[in-house]
């Protein structure tokens, strides 16, 4: 019994150290965001909390036009996540509930293939396409090209295949139409999968960097990631306190989405695992 107690203490110790190592960079970022510029550049650097928090956050907000950045990032993240969910729910439904129709496998493979075509593989032509469509520097370029999701189709297809067949049989006897079945029976059942996909996609789009970097230019559609990069001057001493303040503001939305949806996220994954 004594041995067990020592092991438990050791485990807690190990975890406390690990949590500290993982969280320290974030705590540190927050601490820097409270300092004044002299404290940032004081030598040697000290681990301290300053009293310049409000000034830094106000400065960060104004200098980066943060309100607009947050709006743009939220808008494209929500639109893209919802678009992906709608498109993959419908496609997965078609793949599972309509038997073998001609071209089914080919269409499925075409959707799966997106896994093999990350942005850098097609960035030049996709950029040119945006230019030809007049989509550069618009919300269109940041959302519509990302509406298809192999992950989403797989996730929902996998889930539908585990829904008891008796459910469809009973509904068919009642003479249900496909869309009715999808909307009033399947979708309510797949709530936790939908939430999981939303969380992942929201954070994914929020954190996109390369694509907004090349397709956007004006403040009108600029996103948080790019706005933050623009706070770092290439030729002067960066005001790290202000930059960290902007960074903390910019990570709050994905963090909130993640925290509120954490439970269903883990459940959604666990369910996926079950099958």
């Amino acid at each position: 019994m004594k041995r067990k107690k020592t092991t438990t203490i050791f485990i807690h110790l190990f975890l406390i150290v690990s949590v500290f190592l993982v969280s320290f960079p974030i705590i540190y970022a927050f601490m820097v965001s409270t300092l004044n510029i002299n404290q940032v550049y004081s030598s040697p650097p000290k681990l301290q909390l300053g009293d310049n928090l409000i000034n830094n956050y106000r400065e960060a907000w104004e200098r980066s036009n943060m309100g607009k950045l947050l709006f743009n990032s939220s808008f494209i993240s929500i639109v893209t996540a919802v678009g992906k969910i709608i498109l993959s729910v419908s496609a997965a439904f078609a793949f599972v509930y309509f038997g073998d129709f001609p071209g089914k496998n080919l269409l499925f493979i075409m959707i799966l293939i997106t896994h093999m075509l990350p942005l850098p593989i097609r960035i030049v032509p996709t950029y040119q396409l945006m230019d030809n469509l007049g989509w550069l520097d618009t919300y269109y370029a940041l959302t519509i090209p990302f509406f298809a999701s192999a992950t989403g189709v797989l996730l929902f297809k996998q889930f539908y295949m585990t829904v008891p067949e008796s459910l469809l049989e009973a509904s068919l006897i009642d003479g249900i139409t496909p869309l009715r079945f999808l909307l009033s029976i399947l979708i309510p059942l797949s709530k936790s999968n939908i939430v999981a996909l939303f969380t992942i996609e929201f954070i994914w789009v929020w954190n996109q960097y390369l694509w907004p970097l090349v397709t956007t230019n004006s403040a009108r559609v600029r996103v948080v990631q790019i706005g933050l990069k623009m706070l770092i001057p290439s030729d002067a001493q960066p005001e790290w306190n202000v930059i960290m303040a902007a960074l903390i503001i910019g990570v709050i939305p994905p963090l909130l989405v993640y925290l509120t949806l954490q439970k269903s996220l883990v459940e959604g994954f666990a369910m996926q695992q079950d099958k």
């Binding site: 949590v19 960079p25 498109l87 990350p118 396409l129 298809a148 960290m244 695992q273």
Partner: protein, 295 residues
């Protein structure tokens, strides 16, 4: 699934799949084929005309020491980052999965780097390790006399992007391992306990084989993510430097495509990246088939 909707609804199936197919064809498949096409051309200095050059772009790439530097550095960087982030996430997931107090709190606190972008992770670690203002760089110097100056030292910069990316990937991997471990039956482990198995035997004989499909899945996903997404870290911190030490393939591609406007040369690089993805995909299907993918 045997029962299904009647044949008269077949049109609906196509209608429901159509939006995904239109997006995939227009924005993914068609541009990828165009990358291949463009890779056989060279644009004139003002970019107004394309000249067919056959395989010249590939030939120039594969004989360019700068490109080999990019390629080798990207592969080494990816391998180390993937190993560190998967191994540490696995260890932490196994330990937090034990029946201990506060396991939930530990779990939440280990996942949150997942919400940070690669660019944000880069900025935070860049400041933490900054030779002038970084607290960690200062203590490293104090304790080991090592001067971790990522601004002028290539090796330091290379290590920095590994640390920032591993930190970012840790949370992602941790989520998947936690979910996978929930499905390892406690009865099995208790039975092993009764037989007097040591924790290590239990892990290697019971837990690890059960979660190896997810480990393999993460290996594949991490390799692709790290290989392609570390662009953000490099762009905010080092822009490929110092002395091209962090000039990873995606960054070089970006520079050639959008700063030097050499679209043909950049497209040839896209095709080489596609070959890399194709190899990873073949490995995936060869060793796991669809099983891991759908798991």
């Amino acid at each position: 699934m045997n029962s299904k909707f009647a044949k008269k609804y077949r049109y609906l199936a196509y209608l429901l799949i159509a939006p995904s197919i239109i997006i995939v064809t227009t924005f993914l498949i068609y541009p990828s084929l165009q990358s291949l096409y463009l890779s056989f051309f060279r644009s004139t200095p003002f970019g107004n005309r394309q000249i067919y050059v056959g395989l010249e772009n590939f030939q120039r790439l594969l004989t360019s020491s700068a490109y080999w530097n990019s390629l080798v550095r990207s592969l080494v960087f990816t391998a180390i980052t993937v190993f560190i982030s998967i191994a540490s996430a696995l260890i932490l997931a196994v330990v937090t999965n034990k029946n201990i107090r506060g396991a939930k709190i530990y779990k939440s606190l280990l996942i949150w780097p997942f919400a940070f972008s690669f660019a944000f992770a880069g900025i935070i670690w860049g400041v933490l390790m900054h030779p002038n203002v970084g607290i960690m760089a200062y203590y490293i110097k104090l304790l080991t006399t090592l001067n971790f100056d990522w601004i002028s030292n290539g090796t330091a910069a290379f290590i920095l992007i590994i640390i920032a990316s591993s930190w970012r990937m840790l949370g992602y991997n941790f989520i998947f391992f936690i979910a996978a471990l929930q499905n390892v039956s406690p009865e099995l482990l208790e039975a092993a306990d009764i037989d007097g198995a040591s924790p290590f035997t239990k892990f290697w004989r019971i837990t690890f084989p059960l979660i190896s499909p997810i480990t393999f899945f993460l290996l594949i996903m991490n390799t692709l993510q790290v290989f392609f997404l570390t662009f953000g870290v490099v762009d905010v911190l080092t822009q490929g430097g110092p002395a091209r030490a962090t000039d990873i393939v995606t960054y070089k591609l970006f520079r050639d495509a959008f700063l030097s406007m050499r679209t043909g040369y950049a497209s040839a690089q896209s095709i080489i990246l596609f070959i890399f993805v194709a190899i990873i995909t073949i490995i995936q299907f060869k060793y796991a088939g669809e099983k891991v993918f759908y798991q």
